[in-house]
């Protein structure tokens, strides 16, 4: 942890399922004492695949869900039945110790449980598909539906085919991140209040150029496959994803000082490796302006570049664009990130057991450096009720009481 910790002394109760667990994860990374509260036996999202592989001793199992582990390391975990009177009393006592409470239940559930008063002293972050009130407040939604309702889905995919979502669900991360931002804004203000996060609204913030195009220019952008819109004043689109020898690279014909430099370097590079197609050789890069090119011209330039990029591997491409200070990157995947020299040089990765007793794994380290220090990933994801004795003990609940509560199914 960054020393002294950024959020040291801040107790957070986290009742959110995977749709909001990232909020508590971020606060925990920053040094808050985050206590995950699950129903006895563990929450249903612990069975969210994919799982750590069989070689890890894991099949479908409450302690092997990769998305669950990703969102819950750095937290302590307890179990508690909010449906029982004794459970609610314990929750009230816990809530009195918390500055922030994160939850993702359907709007009104805490009121129905009679726990509204218990929440009254804290900053309560509520993360739901559509928000706490309004015409859709009671509508259910998973990642796919809220992404559809945000316009984000509309913008991804091939023309004429169904819109597509990112295969690893993104809305839980956006909602959790905005929940953490809202909690910290509220913490600056001071008083207890509600932070009402809508996953639909969160996903609406991930594509702002498109709303601006509609509002300012009356253009309704849609899916463009691998092409980039919005750089042209005459409506041309530019290829941004290209096949290479072992995958894809991200590259585009661009203007501006760096874009012109990139174009000039590309032709030099092509000349070194063979010949520059005439359509590229004819360009005066010092005066090149991509915003006014017609689609016919763009298509001709791209047809001249594509065969060259197909001869290169991702790593050859990346090494060359770095050397020549050109715009462009390989299209990375999880394996590329783990071997990236930039991330290694910045000591990005943190290796810990995903669950106590399992072999260690590389996790992304803290999201920024604070005075040169990176927030740590130190605590494995909790087993259901792993910290019951510790945390209920802090409340004065002794081993005998805890055994009785366990017997009664309260914890």
């Amino acid at each position: 942890m960054v020393s002294p910790t950024l959020l040291g002394g801040c107790r957070v109760l986290d009742l959110a399922d995977l749709s909001g667990a990232v909020c508590g994860r971020i606060l925990a990374d920053l040094g808050a004492d985050v206590v995950k509260i699950e129903p006895p036996g563990g929450e249903a999202d612990r069975l969210r695949p994919p799982y750590l592989a069989d070689s890890w001793g894991g099949t479908e199992n409450l302690e092997r869900s990769i998305p669950w582990i990703a969102a819950n390391v750095n937290k302590r975990g307890i179990t508690l039945d909010l449906g029982s009177p004794e459970g609610r009393t314990l929750f009230e006592r816990l809530a009195a110790t918390a500055r922030i409470i994160v939850e993702s239940s359907p709007p009104g559930r805490f009121r129905a449980l009679g726990l509204e008063d218990a929440l009254a002293g804290a900053i309560v972050v509520s993360i739901t598909p559509y928000g706490q009130d309004g015409p859709l407040a009671d509508v259910q939604g998973s990642d796919l539906e809220v992404t559809a309702a945000s316009g984000s889905l509309w913008l991804a995919g091939e023309v004429g085919r169904a819109p597509v979502r990112t295969t690893q669900p993104q809305s839980p991360y956006w909602s959790g991140m905005y929940g953490a931002m809202g909690a910290l804004v509220a913490l600056q203000a001071g008083p207890a209040q509600r932070v009402d996060v809508s996953a639909q609204a969160a996903m609406t913030t991930v594509h702002p150029p498109a709303p601006v195009w509609w509002d300012i220019a009356g253009e309704d952008h849609g899916r463009t496959g691998p092409f980039l819109l919005g750089r042209s004043v005459v409506g041309s689109r530019f290829r941004n994803l290209w096949a290479c020898a072992d995958g894809f690279v991200s590259f585009a014909i661009q203007g501006g000082p760096i874009g012109r430099h990139t174009g000039r370097m590309l032709t030099e590079w092509m000349a070194e490796r063979g010949a520059v197609p005439p359509v590229l050789a004819a360009i005066d890069w010092s005066a090149f302006d991509n915003t006014t090119l017609t689609q016919t011209v763009v298509d001709a330039l791209e047809a001249a570049i594509a065969p060259f990029l197909r001869t290169l591997t991702k790593s050859e491409f990346y090494a060359a664009v770095v050397k020549r200070k050109m715009l462009g990157y390989p299209v990375g995947d999880a394996s590329d990130a783990l071997t990236d020299p930039q991330l290694a040089a910045r000591d990005f990765w943190r290796t810990i057991s995903p669950v106590e007793g399992l072999p260690p794994l590389a996790f992304p380290g803290g999201f920024a450096l604070f005075d040169g220090e990176r927030p740590e990933v130190t605590r494995s994801a909790p087993r259901p009720g792993q910290h019951n004795a510790e945390i209920y003990g802090e409340l004065g609940v002794g081993p005998a009481d805890l055994a009785r509560l366990h017997e009664a199914g309260t914890v």
Partner: protein, 399 residues
């Protein structure tokens, strides 16, 4: 700088961050949107900018209102910088540098998003700023961080989104990936950037110490891919794009409806939800997915949504961008505040996606016109007389 722990008393509706002063220098989205969110909650955010090195959102990125390509008709700038003040300053001029330092010395937070080393070359290096103001919080946000072999490699958000691995996970299996629209990763870095600043403010309340924050947009983005990275690290399998398929839910997909390019998204997560879906469409055959496709294809999208919602099926329309402005739920949350811009005219802003019950966000001003607040910033805050300001202007300090 605001005295620690004793922020001036403010009227209750001035916002959660009232009394916080932010000086900001940057361009495009990744830095400036941090300032936007802080401004939305009441912080006083001063954007320092120059015509000599104008923000690309002022100078080149369309759309421009009515096609007028100038700094004040730039839609992107007006949209991304609402609630801020603009002070023009030429940092290449020695007096410009001194004024910037004086202004930062009065601030709680300094946000910059240039290539590493740029602000230091302009005489605004973190070490000397902190020496002058020990409580100052400095956020430097750039593509790949301030250090490392790729720190100086140029890049921008939509391509960095590809590098990080998002694009690889988008599209149909065994086909070319497709783009995530816009500089997706920039907005992740914006969220984490604001969180970093707010967390540093929280620590400053306890310790009095400021902080220098080095935020790599790439590293911020990778946080959102943690499950995919863990999956590879644990299993050796590289997660691949898989259309709209889900490992649990079935059906789980996007279905064409009657009319041009009209779609719904729906999912069923267990047998009970599948029975509900079957019942809603009187499906008979064994292939529920095919039954759903056939059923939706004959019906208008909004009828499909209404029918399924009434039946308890998880469903949503795939809204186009223009439709977002009319969506009743987003409207209820005030997602698109209306303002009038001096050059652009009536326009919409974007609200934060979280609402605070006691200290709500406020958005009354679009991004400022260039240099709109020079008198306030250089006159009232820095105490320069009218004559001093005119003289500096003649020297090109405010260009």
């Amino acid at each position: 700088m605001t005295e620690l722990g004793t922020r001036p008393a403010t009227v209750p509706d001035a916002g959660a961050l009232a009394g916080l002063r932010v000086v900001e220098m940057g361009f495009a989205a990744a830095g400036p949107l941090v300032g936007k969110y802080l401004a939305n909650f009441g912080a006083e955010v001063i954007r320092l900018e120059s015509r000599i090195a104008a923000d690309v959102f002022r100078s080149t990125y369309p759309p421009f209102k009515n096609g007028v390509v100038d700094a004040d008709h730039a839609g992107m700038f007006a949209f991304y910088n609402d609630g801020k003040m603009s002070a023009s300053l030429n940092l290449k001029h020695p007096n410009g540098k001194a004024l910037a330092r004086a202004l930062i010395a009065q601030a709680d937070v300094f946000v910059e998003s240039f290539t590493p080393g740029t602000v230091a070359r302009l005489g605004l290096d973190a070490a000397s700023l902190r020496e002058e103001s020990p409580g100052l919080i400095i956020l430097s946000s750039c593509n790949q961080g301030q250090t490392g072999p790729h720190a100086f490699h140029p890049g921008y958000g939509s391509q960095l989104t590809a590098l990080a691995g998002f694009v690889q996970l988008l599209g149909d299996p065994d086909s070319t990936p497709v783009l995530l629209y816009g500089p997706y990763i920039d907005y992740i870095a914006v969220g984490y950037g604001a969180i970093a600043v707010l967390a540093a403010l929280e620590r400053r309340k306890r310790t009095g110490a400021g902080c220098v924050i080095d935020l790599s947009q790439y590293e911020a983005g990778l946080q959102f891919l943690t499950p995919s990275i863990l999956e590879f690290a644990a299993t050796g399998r590289i997660p691949q794009r898989n259309g709209n398929a889900d490992p649990v839910a079935s059906p789980h997909g996007v279905y064409r409806c009657a009319g041009p390019d009209r779609w719904v998204a729906l999912s069923a997560w267990n047998d009970a939800e599948r029975r509900t879906l079957r019942y809603a469409i009187d499906a008979e055959g064994p292939d529920l997915d095919a039954s759903v496709s056939a059923w939706t294809a004959m019906r208008p999208r909004d009828d499909v949504v209404a029918t399924f919602r009434a039946a308890g099926v998880r469903v949503a329309p795939v809204l186009s961008i223009s439709e977002l402005f009319a969506d009743p739920q987003l409207a209820h949350r005030g997602m698109w505040p209306r303002v009038t811009h001096p050059a652009i005219g009536p326009m919409r802003l974007m609200a934060p996606p979280f609402r605070l019950s006691a200290t709500p966000s406020r958005q009354e001003r679009p991004g400022p016109v260039f240099g709109a607040d020079n008198d306030h910033v250089f006159g009232e805050l820095l105490g320069l007389t009218g004559e001093e300001r005119r003289s500096l202007a003649r020297d090109g300090v405010f260009d």
